[in-house]
């Protein structure tokens, strides 16, 4: 009997898989056309010296990659990526969590859910503002001579206000502050919906046991919203590594490369310098890094989920 049954089961399974195939085909085609082929072409270009257009491609092997190792600006751009992760992941996630719990626990309960949702939308506003518009806005505020901030500072007696985007010491922190402003609404919205998912009975039980706000936050809120925290960390880290728009509109990597990031550096080589192979190599390194970081975060997430399941 078993000898007869086994192939039948296997057949059914393979038939099931075949049944799903038509639904996978559009996605596979789109993935191939939009991701796989361009990525393959990018790898191909990165192995050449090429000006672009109809100019001839000259084989350069791994030359572009070895050139990168000795390129100081390339390393600067990756060092700045760490600052981008601080500004787009670390700080917004922590502040976002605090804001979301305050809105949910305190303001939502005291002034009603409508007030909380209006405030949530306010925090989210910079996220829907096109980055070019946000850049123009912040340039108006931060312009060293005519910007609103320095005009205000001079009004209150500061004779030599900081040159926010023009000095190598202040440009990167200033860009980071703008990024935090842009980014903060995203974790707030996700965390607030996560908090709504948490069973209120857990809080009630903890309260009956005499747990204060901090204890409840640490023992219930943080573990309960762990999946959302992973999602935010993953998406924001990827966004931080490939950040381009805000740098383009605020500083173009300056002054003196102090705000250079890999994606802008790739663009600079690709378009301005017509060093297509070199620009492609930078983009490939960035892609590999993003995939590696994403895999690490996803492994950690899976491990944490498994641990939770086992704990249960």
């Amino acid at each position: 009997m078993t000898t007869v049954d086994r192939p039948r089961v296997r057949n059914r399974r393979s038939r099931d898989w075949l049944g799903y195939l038509p639904y996978l085909v559009p996605g596979l085609i789109a993935f191939t056309v939009v991701i796989l082929i361009p990525f393959g072409m990018n790898i191909y270009y990165s192995l050449h010296k090429w000006k672009g257009g109809n100019a001839p491609l000259r084989w350069y092997g791994l030359g572009n990659y070895t050139d990168l190792l000795a390129d100081e600006q390339f390393w600067t751009s990756f060092r700045n990526s760490v600052a981008m992760i601080v500004a787009m992941v670390l700080v917004p996630t922590v502040i976002g969590l605090l804001l979301a719990t305050t809105l949910f626990d305190v303001l939502g309960k005291r002034f009603g859910p409508r007030v909380a949702s209006v405030l949530r939308a306010t925090y989210y506003l910079p996220q829907i503002l096109p980055v070019a518009v946000a850049g123009v806005l912040w340039n108006w505020i931060l312009n060293s001579q005519t910007g609103a901030l320095n005009v205000l500072l001079r009004e209150v007696g500061v004779t030599d206000p900081p040159n926010w985007l023009g000095s190598t010491t202040t440009a990167l922190p200033t860009v980071m502050l703008v990024l935090i402003w842009i980014q903060i609404g995203y974790p707030v919205v996700i965390f607030m919906s996560a908090l709504q998912r948490v069973d209120p009975e857990l809080y009630e039980a903890a309260e009956l046991d005499g747990a204060g706000w901090w204890h409840r936050f640490r023992a219930i809120t943080i573990p309960q919203i762990k999946p959302e925290t992973f999602v935010i960390t993953l998406t924001c880290t990827v966004a931080a590594l490939k950040v381009f728009g805000p740098i383009y509109v605020l500083t173009r990597g300056g002054p003196e490369s102090s705000t250079l990031v890999p994606s802008y550096y790739s663009y600079l080589n690709f378009f301005d310098k017509s060093k297509v192979g070199y620009g492609a190599a930078i983009a490939n390194v960035l892609t590999v890094l993003i995939i590696a970081v994403a895999v690490v975060i996803m492994v950690l997430q899976a491990r944490s989920a498994r641990r939770e399941e086992e704990g249960r």
């Binding site: 000006k51 312009n143 040159n163 500083t251 300056g254 600079l268 301005d272 310098k273």
Partner: protein, 435 residues
């Protein structure tokens, strides 16, 4: 990508579409196209600018002379064409004639990438090579590596531009300063303003103006040979040689003396222009492209002069008309380019302050415009156009910006700035020459 379309009605578009599609299926190298019945022009000039007015006049003449041809004009932005040209020109859906920036890093790149059509035969048969002054022709010709100055014609300029000194006459009068005619007088004027608590030079570190001021100083100490070495790679350039060193040290001295605002590293050219227009600074060293805007917006008495004592000046032909390699109506494109060089079109340019390259200033009625055009003609007569400092190698613009930001912020010495410029120039030159 397409911005506003004008001139063309929907019906004409509907007619043009099958033609364009038919053309796509044809010879991708582009044919003669003398029998084509649509001419597609891309440019990025505003209708009210001198160039915009002149191009409209040229289109009008073209339409009169080619009644069976529909002219399809698309206004793009400078940035759109500048950044995307090397991508869209590889396709078949390209304009027949297009305005494009000139120089090794721009038109030279397109030429070396095989994306634009050599125009030497047309230049010879239509006489463009005798109409245009020699220093204007430099930007029209590129060799196989995309270096300007020799090789085939790839573009046709029909207006010019140069950098000079704009001054606020009211502020000069206020402090009893005469319009400087020598370098010493210019420095003395800067010092007088500074002593009176007025920062004399409107500047912008985040964009081109600071590099152009530096280049004016280089040209003060340099000769034509150095300019040709630097721009045309006729010989190697020593960035620690006299002219570059003296210029960079002088600029550093001016920054230290407070002639340039210490907080100008992140300011844009627009910031600079607006602050000059607002009367914050008495001097602005910048290009003739500001002329129309200043005429429109400045409420005080102002004037314009050449950088004192310089025999060479940053400047060149204006942007070029280029014909994409994949263009369909190439013959019509050549006809159009030819029309833009005619006296009646050049006169429209000149009257509006657009610095015609094939006209004469005697017809210009406005005295200020006439003075500007005469200044430009004087530069042309002296073979005094020295192009722009960022032209020699692709990507040098960003290097200049970054290095002069270091000088404004006083985070690098002049010698370190020259080191930075030298290494970027040398590696860019190697890349260019190796192809």
């Amino acid at each position: 990508m397409a911005v506003q379309r004008k001139t063309v009605v929907a019906g004409a578009l509907a007619l043009a579409l099958p033609l364009a599609l038919a053309a796509c299926g044809g010879d991708s190298s582009g044919g003669g196209g003398s029998d084509a019945d649509t001419l597609t022009i891309w440019h990025y000039e505003n209708d009210d600018s001198a160039m915009g007015q002149a191009w409209n006049k040229a289109i009008e003449i073209f339409e009169d002379e080619h009644p069976d041809v529909t002219v399809n004009v698309e206004n793009q932005t400078f940035e759109q064409i500048q950044k995307n040209a090397k991508i869209f020109l590889t396709g078949d859906d390209v304009p027949d004639v297009m305005e494009y920036n000139k120089g090794n890093a721009t038109a030279g790149q397109l030429a070396s990438q095989g994306l634009i059509t050599p125009l030497t035969d047309e230049a010879e048969s239509r006489g463009w090579d005798s109409t245009l002054p020699a220093s204007i022709q430099t930007t029209a010709r590129y060799d196989e590596q995309g270096l300007m100055g020799s090789g085939d014609w790839y573009g046709v300029p029909n207006y010019g531009e140069f950098v000079g000194v704009y001054f606020n006459q009211d502020m000069l009068d206020q402090y009893g300063i005469a319009v400087p005619t020598t370098f010493d007088e210019f420095e003395a004027a800067l010092a007088t303003f500074q002593e009176n608590g007025v920062t004399p030079l409107a500047e912008a570190g985040a964009e081109y103006p600071m590099g152009q001021l530096w280049y004016e100083l280089v040209l003060h100490y340099a000769d034509r040979e150095l300019v040709d070495d630097y721009q045309l790679f006729t010989s190697d350039v020593d960035f620690h040689g006299d002219a570059f060193t003296q210029a960079t040290e002088k600029l550093d001295e001016w920054i230290k003396a407070g002639y340039v605002a210490a907080d100008s590293a992140a300011l844009t050219a627009e910031d600079m222009g607006v602050s000059f227009i607002n009367g914050t600074y008495p001097f602005m060293v910048s290009g003739s492209w500001w002329f129309g805007r200043l005429t429109e917006e400045i409420p005080f008495t102002w004037g314009q002069t050449l950088f004192p004592e310089n025999t060479m000046h940053p400047g060149s032909s204006g942007n070029l008309w280029v014909v994409p390699e994949n263009a369909v109506a190439k013959d019509l494109a050549y006809d159009f380019i030819d029309i833009t060089l005619r006296p009646e079109v050049q006169e429209v340019l000149g009257q509006a302050g657009g610095l015609p390259v094939a006209g004469d200033s005697s017809a210009i009625t406005d005295p200020k415009t006439k003075e500007l055009t005469e200044n430009f003609e004087a530069i042309l007569d002296d073979d005094g156009l020295a192009y722009y400092p960022d032209w020699p190698v692709p990507g040098f613009y960003d290097v200049l910006v970054s290095e002069f930001q270091s000088l404004i912020n006083q985070s690098k010495t002049p010698s370190e700035v020259l080191d930075g410029l030298s290494s970027a120039y040398e590696s860019g030159k190697t890349d260019l020459l190796e192809g």
